[in-house]
Each structure stands twice: as structure tokens, then as C-alpha cells.
């Protein structure tokens, strides 16, 4: 187990370096990193050259990347162009997005798995068909349309919730945005659980459990569900990173000042330090979530062991 974790952590290093290098190149080579400093007008050449020298942007790109990564590893993410520390921005933005992601994952786990189990056990019945059609509709409508419509209906027309989220972004306010963020994944979780349950329902161990007289509830929760959850857990694990990165759209619709908002502002104002810093953290979250999922396999299925 310990050796497995260490091996996985070592494997993460090249992926982490590659992903950060890629995003670093996208931001620094394709865009002009000092353009954002001069506002709407273009910088005059002398100022641009002085700024570039000041920020070390006249160095070769690989050297800039190494310097940057060296700083990041010591906890220094640099300063945004408005003088604020990037870590300070992260301190305000990440708690909000983490709360939003938690709400979304809660929806996925509770509603998605419950619907999946119910439909998987009743394959071919009207309830199953209805849920399947609903998931297809949810998947095919883009998230931002779902978000705008829910905001219009729940927030404005019927007045059940506030149409936008205050700067505190408490859990209660994040229910509707969380549902919107989760919607597509929720549909995938439902379909995945359904397939998995329907497949395992015919297996020998379920027949044995039924034959030895276990109550149906126990058969479903202890035998069937536990064995069917592995693909679902894989999906949810990889989804955590996607949710936090994909929150850009949801946060824009509901005016939530989280990671997506800061990133969007950073990209619009060409604030390179913010963008690279936030993406670096998101990549880390994605990698760690994947590792945790792989370790969870052993909890769900004791046959899987890590040497």
C-alpha cells in the first residue's frame, strides 16, 4: 500500500510538470504577458521592455518556467498585476468553489446513485424509460442554458431562491448553482450506475445472497451496490477536477466569486500570474483526486490489493 502510493506520487511528477508547462506556454508564448499592464492602449516599446526586464520576461521561456515552478514549490505564486498576492486571491476564491463542488458532488452521489439503482433494478419499466429519457435531455442541453433557465424560473419567475449568490456564498445559496454544475455529471452517474447494477444483478453472488434468504434491502445495499460502485467512483473522482474547472460557466451565470470568476477575470485582463497559478492548483486537485479514487477501489472491492 505505502509503496503503491509512493510509486503513484512519483508518476504524478511528469504529468504535473507537463500540464503546468503546457498551460505556461499557452499563456506566455501565445499571449503578450505585459499587454494587460497598460490597460486598453498598447504599451509603448520602452515601457514594455522595462516591464519585461523587471518581471524577468526577457529570459528564455524554459528559464522562466523553471523560476516559476521553483517559486511555486516554495509556496510563492507571484503577484497579480493589481498588486495582490495570488495566494491571497486563492484564499478567497477556493473555499467558495470547494463548497460549490461539494454541493455538486453531493447531488451526484445522492440523486445520481439513487436514480441509477432504482432504474437498474427496474430495467425496461416505464420509470426506467422515463429517467433514461430525462438523462438524455439533461446531457444534450448545454450547462449554460440549463443554468440560465433555472435561474429565470426558480430565481426570477417563481422567486424560490435568489437569482444570484452573495459574496459569502453560504451552502444554502449554492443549492441551485450546485445542481446546475452537477446536472450533466448527474445524468452520467445515473446511467453508469444503472448499467452497472443491471449487469451485476444477474451475477452468481446476488443469486446466492437471495437464495440464502437475505432481505432484499441487504442484498441490494451490501452485495449489489458495493460491487457496482467501482465505475461510478472512478467517474466521480475524475469529475472533481472537471467540476472545479468547469465551474467557470456556472459561476459566471450566478455571479459567484470563486475560482472560475478569478480565472475568467485573469484571462480577460491577461493577468498571467493568476491564470497559471490557479490552473496549477486545479491540475494538482485533479491528480490527487485520481489517486484517492484508485485507493478507494480496495475499500470497495477487497479482491483488489496494492503491492
Amino acid at each position: 500500500m505505502g509503496r503503491y502510493v509512493i510509486r503513484r506520487l512519483l508518476q504524478m511528477i511528469p504529468v504535473f510538470a507537463g500540464a503546468t508547462l503546457l498551460i505556461f506556454l499557452m499563456v506566455n508564448v501565445m499571449g503578450d504577458p505585459v499587454a494587460g499592464l497598460c490597460g486598453e492602449r498598447a504599451c509603448d516599446p520602452a515601457t514594455a521592455a522595462r516591464l519585461k526586464a523587471e518581471f524577468g520576461l526577457d529570459q528564455p521561456v524554459w528559464k522562466q518556467y523553471l523560476t516559476y515552478m521553483g517559486n511555486v514549490l516554495t509556496g510563492d505564486f507571484g503577484t497579480a498585476f493589481n498588486g495582490q498576492e495570488v495566494t491571497e486571491l486563492m484564499g478567497t476564491a477556493f473555499p467558495v468553489t470547494v463548497r460549490l463542488t461539494l454541493v455538486a458532488i453531493l447531488f451526484e452521489v445522492v440523486i445520481g446513485i439513487a436514480l441509477g439503482v432504482v432504474t437498474g433494478l427496474r430495467r425496461g419499466r416505464p420509470a426506467d424509460t422515463g429517467v433514461l429519457v430525462a438523462t438524455l435531455v439533461v446531457i444534450s442541453v448545454p450547462t449554460f442554458v440549463t443554468g440560465l433557465l433555472l435561474q429565470l424560473l426558480l430565481g426570477v419567475k417563481w422567486g424560490w431562491t435568489d437569482p444570484s449568490v452573495s459574496s459569502e456564498a453560504a451552502f444554502g445559496e449554492l443549492v441551485v448553482p450546485g445542481l446546475v454544475l452537477a446536472s450533466v455529471s448527474l445524468a452520467y452517474v445515473t446511467r453508469l450506475t444503472r448499467t452497472s447494477i443491471a449487469e451485476n444483478r444477474r451475477s452468481d453472488y446476488v443469486r446466492t445472497a437471495v437464495a440464502k434468504g437475505l432481505p432484499r434491502r441487504r442484498v441490494v445495499t451490501r452485495h449489489l451496490l458495493r460491487n457496482s460502485l467501482i465505475p461510478v467512483v472512478t467517474f466521480i473522482g475524475t469529475d472533481i477536477g472537471a467540476l472545479m474547472g468547469g465551474a467557470i460557466v456556472t459561476e459566471r451565470i450566478f455571479n459567484i466569486h470563486g475560482v472560475g470568476y478569478q480565472l475568467y477575470q485573469g484571462i480577460l485582463r491577461q493577468n498571467t500570474q493568476t491564470v497559471v497559478g490557479f490552473v496549477t492548483v486545479l491540475v494538482l486537485v485533479f491528480l490527487v483526486a485520481n489517486l484517492v479514487v484508485d485507493l478507494l477501489y480496495a475499500v470497495l472491492d477487497p479482491r483488489i490489493r496494492y503491492a
Binding site: 511528469p14 504529468v15 504535473f16 507537463g18 500540464a19 503546457l22 498551460i23 499557452m26 499563456v27 501565445m30 499571449g31 438524455l136 435531455v137 446531457i139 444534450s140 442541453v141 448545454p142 450547462t143 449554460f144 442554458v145 440560465l148 433557465l149 429565470l152 426570477v156 450533466v184 455529471s185 452520467y188 453508469l192 449487469e199 444477474r202 451475477s203 452468481d204 465505475p231 472512478t234 467517474f235 475524475t238 469529475d239 477536477g241 472537471a242 472545479m244 474547472g245 468547469g246 467557470i248 460557466v249 459566471r252 480565472l263 475568467y264 484571462i267 480577460l268 491564470v275 490552473v279 486545479l282 491540475v283 485533479f286 491528480l287
Partner: protein
Amino acid sequence: MPDTRRTHPGPEPEAGGRRPGERLPGGPPPGDHPTGDRPRGNRPDDGPDARDGAIAGTGFGGSMDLAADEGRTLEDDPGPDGGGPSGRPRSLWSDAWRDLRRNPVFVVSALLILFLVLIALRPTLLASGDPLDCDLARAQEGSRPGHPFGFNGQGCDVYTRTVHGARTSVTVGVCATLGVTLLGSVLGGLAGFFGGLWDALLSRLTDVFFAIPVVLGGLVLLSVVTSNSVWPVIGFMVLLGWPQISRISRGAVITAKQHDYVQAARALGASGPRMLLRHIAPNAIAPVIVVATIALGTYIALEATLSYLGVGLKPPTVSWGIDISSASPYIRNAPHMLLWPAGALAVTVLAFIMLGDAVRDALDPKLR
């Protein structure tokens, strides 16, 4: 986005840990099996999903699932000695086609897609007006005779714009899917076939691309592009989409490589390209086709999302994404401006996803 990396979250095929030797623990030696034409239940496991490969990879060693499946299909189609069909055996593809034609989901979605392609090629068949012909005096007005969907914020006819928008969306979807499929299946297929160092490098490279959130990568890459055409958007989708297909085709090629007919071809002295093209590719392409069909729908939705964020296509290009995004501030006063293009978009994405599902069901022997 509709996130392009979500379609098949199965574990990597290498995690299945199958080796050629493990596949036939107690099974008959290869010579005992009727050559070439396998009976229906025993079809090689080219399930479109890496997970299926991992489960059904036992070949004729026979897991319980496969055995039950065989019993059922033999009943449907009794051969002279119970071992195979009596008539001319059907290939996987003709078999799948026979199933597909009877599947109403497939028929409906295929007809929808044909219709979409038709109006993408000839939008004037349905809407003779000019989508850029706008009159501010009519802005945000509802439907009226001759203009069934009403007018948008600039006073353009929503119906005309919705019909003409199909061309951009279909172009983006088809071109991005073609690019992703070509690049991904060639790279993944070669890596799976040759293995070794290149395979390891490519696998790490796909990991790198998977770690970058798609919408975010799009924002960063496309925010510096000033071009007005659809090509930067397509290029971005190919750049971030190929790892998904590459992973799937790599897994499919590794599974197909271990089959007996490939070993037989190798023993007969077939060259690498011949084995790859004649024996492996036709048996490994099914999962790629399924994922590519579903991905096509998600790319269309991704284009709309990027346009909504202001980095995708830009006016005066006519596209559903642009129309939805320009209608979103007015959703309270004039929801029709948003609902029609959004509805068209949803129906298109739905058609491709349903088509992919139907093709998967037809190609996956385990679901029969």
C-alpha cells in the same frame, strides 16, 4: 462542456492486466475452433468499452456472463450441431446493421441527422431570407406570420438564423470529430500495436492533456486568437480531444492484438502493416466509432459554451452558440430568442448521442 473526456470512464486497459497466455486457461487449443466463422455467442470481444474488454477478455475460457449469453443466442439461432449458424455466417457489421435497422431510436436519430446535414448544406431550402438582414425597429418582437420564431435583440429573424446556424455547428462538430478521430486513432493504434517506449510516452502525454480542464484550456488558448473563422475552435478541439480517442483505440488494439487470428497471421509471416490494417484495424474500430459519434454531439455543445464565454466564434458568423449567448441578457423579456436556438442545439446533440448509443448497443455482443 460538456466535457469531452467523460464518455468512457472505464479503467485503463492496461489495468486489466491481460496477457495472451492468460486468455485460454482451460479452453480448447486454437486448432479445435472452427476457423474464421465463429458462432454468434463467441464473437471476439470487441465491446466498445474498455471495461467490457476487461470483463469479456476471458475469450472462450468463458466467464459466466459470456456463457449465459451464448446459451441464449444459440436458442435464437440453432445451428446443425449447436456450434454455429447453419447459413452463411454474418459479420459483426452486417449483424449490427440488421439490428440497427430495427431500432426505432437509430432510425429517428439518423433521419434527424440527415435532415440537419441537408439544411447545413442548403439552408435556403427552408429559410430563404438573409440571416444578417436585421432591422432594429423589430428588436425582441415575438412571433408573427412569416416570422414564426420572432426576432432577436438586433431585430434579425430568429427562424432564419436558427436554420442558417446549423451549418456552423455541423461544420465544427464534423471537422473536429474527423480531426480527433484521425489523430487519436492513428497515434493510439500505433502505440498499442508497437508498445514499448513510444507507448509509455504517449500514455503520459494523454495523462497531461487529461489533467487540463477543457473549458479552461479553451478560454486560455482562444482568448489570444483574433481570427473570425471556425478553424481556431476546431483546432483547439482536436488539440484537447485526441487523447480521449487515442486511449480508447490503444486499448482496442491491444485487445485485438491478442486474438488468435492475429497470432496466426503473424505465424504465416504477415508484415506489421498488413496485420495492423487487415486484421487488427477492422476489429478495433468499433469502439472508436461509438465514442466519436457521441463526442460529435458534445463538440457542438462545447462550441456553444465557448461562444457563450466570448472566446468561441464571433459575429458576424451565424451560429447557435452566438445566438444563445447574445440572447442570454434578455432572457427575462424575450425568452423566445434563447429558446429556439437552444432547442435546435439540444435536439442536434441529442440526435448524435442517441445514434452513438444505438450503434454501441448493436456492436456490443454482451448486450444481446
